[in-house]
Symmetry: C2
Subunit: 209 residues, 2 copies
């Protein structure tokens, strides 16, 4: 296996944190997103979507999407389980992971990419250019804050996002919150359950991955 990473980017950090929780280390290649290496011919041959993370499997095929990569790693390195165990718990992990991805991570990306000066004409990742949409930057900010309020309510009832144990959903949410910091959004003080959870996750060794 080979892991294509970029230590400054939030998306591959989901895989880094996942690997750190498993205490697994695999050969890693850094892709320099700041210089545009993801658009090079060499990298496009690995991932035409021009994104990291990518995981190259031993058969030479490539996975270019965080959920798929994490699922593959879960099957290869089952302990500790980060996708839940029984079918109901696994489904809850997938559900909360999707919610945190769509309402948190993607919303933070909308807020950031549609306003960042360096991303004019590249509001979406990939080979194709997309113009920034100012209204979408603003909507992204609103969505992130609503998502944080929803998570706070959820975490008033359970210790971790998908229930009793730490899972992939916590990784996605934790990194989405840090990503929201790129557009100067932080967890509002009144969200004490979300704040409690965030401090607990930040104290894990994997949080610095």
């Amino acid at each position: 296996m080979k892991f294509y990473d970029c230590t400054t980017a939030p998306s591959p950090r989901r895989v880094r944190m996942f690997l750190a929780e498993k205490q697994v280390s695999i050969p890693t290649v850094q892709v320099d997103l700041r210089s545009g290496e993801q658009h090079s011919e060499a990298f496009r041959a690995i991932n035409p979507r021009c994104t990291v993370p990518v995981l190259t499997l031993d058969d030479g095929s490539h996975l270019n999407e965080a959920l798929a990569i994490c699922w593959y790693l879960e099957r290869r390195f089952p302990e500790p389980a980060l996708f839940g165990d029984d079918p109901g718990q696994q489904a809850r992990v997938l559900m909360w992971n999707a919610l945190c991805e769509q309402e948190g991570f993607f919303a933070a990306a909308e807020a950031f990419r549609n306003r960042a000066k360096g991303l004019k004409g590249r509001a979406l990742t990939g080979q194709e250019g997309y113009a920034q949409i100012e209204a979408l930057a603003e909507r992204g900010r609103t969505r992130v804050l609503r998502w944080m309020a929803d998570l706070d309510a959820r975490l008033s009832a359970v210790p971790f996002i998908a229930g009793e144990g730490f899972t992939l959903a916590d990784i996605t949410a934790f990194i989405a919150i840090d990503f929201a910091g790129w557009v100067k959004l932080a967890v509002p003080e009144q969200h004490r359950h979300l704040t409690r959870w965030r401090e607990q996750v930040a104290a894990r060794a994997s949080a610095s991955a």
Copy 2:
């Protein structure tokens, strides 16, 4: 189990088609999205996101997201496998499903919801109102067409989207293409691989679900 459905909506159709492939039937409740039943107090108690599909499990908990629901059903009714079998194949199904959801399904939703006269102030699903963004409707159309071109290239090499067998990724893509029809987008004639695949999927009994 109980399945909350709406026969006119694309999102719950993913679950209907999945169930039809499994030849499984479960108690189903229709939610009338046109009259706004998803915003009723009764339905919000089941799903605060105000969306279908929802699957209520025997322990009374609710799953409100298509991937999570399909995974749960896969574990309960393993045959025929629609998520692949070995870890590599499962990861490819998740990867292609995510691609078809993000680049196809969500893009079609952007194109539709940001322009539909009946959805002013409701450009996103849920309890919160979001204004329509005209530039996003247009960008959604562009993204759908680019996604179709990518799928056509993929299907020049393999019979089904995730490889040799029919999977959840085909369900998501097939329904996303029908959804794109709501904004008068169809598979361009020159995409003969995508057209071949679409005709094959349309011939399955589950396609009418």
